[in-house]
Symmetry: C2
């Protein structure tokens, strides 16, 4: 088998990390790079990634050009969180016959918020005999796929809770900005209005995925906007200093309501100065399940891993729009990528 | 859709528990029961399960008779741990056009120890357009499927460790006997020779499944026989009293060796008087993952759950011998069973 041919669609904060992992792996060839960042367009990928290597692949802002000559097996798409914005980008990849693995949060389970775009993507993917997946560790794994996996231990389920508590100081600068670390409360409110602070995108998708897997018909999904976590003591990261009374980050909750009962509760916390980091899942049922990953899974490392680990799985999937629960059990592809076909 | 038609092949310790759960569920009908226990043959299932109900289904010791009239969608098979013994039973179910979900430990991943029987079962299942799965929580989930699922968070993996530590006092009497709880060390050794003490069956299967999922070519799998855990202080369960110096239960380890390195280590402990019960998975890699279920998942409750939760999945699977990693993400089927098709 020949090397798997990859086009990177987006080499921002996440795309750069994904590219660096791909460059270390056997059985993979990067055959095209798309980005709109003027700082990167026209440069060699090695330079765009701020490495010293010359890789012989230029960053282009013209997706049509790149895709029409790349003959890509998989486009790794990493631009924005919202499907309305990413839809035309992903559609272009599909039309050029490429499978797509995307970090787009809304694509991880698009049926809740964007059912029409989901249907159109599915139809388009089938027409071109390719497969599409949105994933990452959250949404995509920690608060949905892993939760669903653990429900298989249960005979009855009353309620599901999942919490992710992370110290934002360990995350990339763009993430820390997105959660308002170091702002005053007023600046945070302004940022929320102007959407420079977006908080976490994905809780609605995660709840929707869990409910569909269990065949629970929810009456509604309540997703709160991000709320500021106010620092009680001084805390800092490499890029932010948080004085007491300032915003250290966010807490964001969402609930799935079935009848009158809250059956799914998600609690996402990311701020500078977290005492204990963890990903916890609690299922109240028969039997009860208390599961915990300590410290919490590193968001950037984990998302890069999952995206790359789904290259082979999406190529092996049947055509159409897939979600994590349609595909076989998740697993790592740590050896030569050609071994996984 | 009509109710899913189930034949129970084996209503011993596990089969009885599975039957009781099925009787509570909507969308399921038990249409036949097979067992060789003279105490049960000829009796109504309600009586065989020691309930007060008359269920109108007689326990039969004639699989051919039961299966030829049952028109079963799925046979739930729960007899013994070893594929050489269960092969003809499962083959009979297949020949009558039934899908099979089995608790047979060796069937959970038969390629390591019984590759020929695995091939034959796969061929037979394809010929009859049915699907076959061996599962349970261990082997089947805690030390293999869940481990593999968590590897998807990793970019690189150096070593994988999984441990299951359980207080045998909470388990069924037959399990406590199987691990020699309350015996002297000499009686334990005799029991091992006579195979009345079988220990845990499945570590080799779990290691093999993990290695295959990761495409690690192991040089060998070392599976130790069960070793007695000697009680230091007095401990007891409902059926066993363990004096200091007597056997409280077992510890059993297995290792997957790649080149010269131990890359997979499994550690199974089940004894009366365990201080802290847990299921733990540690992956040394990028990133490191430390996962824990506390207390450990209840073995009987969990296995019954998984078996029943795979009824719909095996009916939806493509024909042949399946393992947990071939099928979609595990999930619970807690609502009316007909909803899951």
């Amino acid at each position: 088998m020949e090397d798997v041919r990859i086009v990177l669609y987006g080499v921002g904060a996440m795309g750069t990390r994904i590219a660096k992992l791909l460059l270390k792996k056997k059985g993979i060839e990067i055959v095209g790079v798309i980005d709109i960042d003027e700082e990167k367009v026209g440069k060699d990928l090695g330079e765009a990634l701020a490495t010293n290597k010359h890789l012989g692949i230029k960053v282009s802002d013209n997706p049509e050009n790149v895709l029409s000559i790349a003959n890509a097996d998989v486009v790794i798409h990493s631009t924005t969180s919202f499907l309305k914005q990413t839809y035309p980008q992903i559609a272009t990849a599909i039309k050029h016959g490429a499978n797509v693995v995307s970090t787009c949060e809304e694509l991880s389970y698009p049926y809740a918020t964007e059912p029409e775009l989901a249907r159109e993507l599915d139809k388009l993917a089938r027409e071109h005999s390719v497969s599409i997946l949105g994933t990452g560790i959250n949404p995509g794994f920690l608060m949905d796929t892993l939760v669903i996996t653990l429900t298989s231990l249960c005979q009855e389920i009353e309620q599901i809770k999942a919490a992710r508590v992370m110290n934002a100081a360990t995350r990339r600068a763009s993430f820390q900005k997105k959660i308002g670390a170091g702002l005053t409360v007023n600046e945070f409110r302004e940022g929320m209005k102007k959407k420079t602070i977006t908080g976490h995108v994905g809780l609605t998708q995660s709840i929707s995925m869990i409910a569909d897997a269990l065949k629970w018909r929810l009456r509604k999904i309540e997703a709160d906007p991000a709320k500021p976590v106010i620092a009680k003591t001084y805390a800092e990261s490499e890029i932010a200093k948080v004085e007491p009374g300032q915003v250290a980050g966010i807490r964001q909750c969402a609930r799935g309501i079935k009848g009158k009962r809250e059956v799914i509760s998600l609690d996402f916390q990311a701020y500078i100065g977290v005492k204990e980091e963890y990903d916890a899942i609690t299922i109240r049922g028969v039997p009860n399940i208390h599961e915990r990953i300590t410290p919490c899974t590193h968001g950037d490392l984990g998302t890069v891993a999952i995206i790359v680990n789904y290259i082979a799985k999406i190529m092996n999937a049947r055509p159409g729009l897939a979600t994590m629960i349609d595909l076989p059990v998740p697993s790592a592809t740590i050896e030569d990528m050609r071994n996984y076909f």
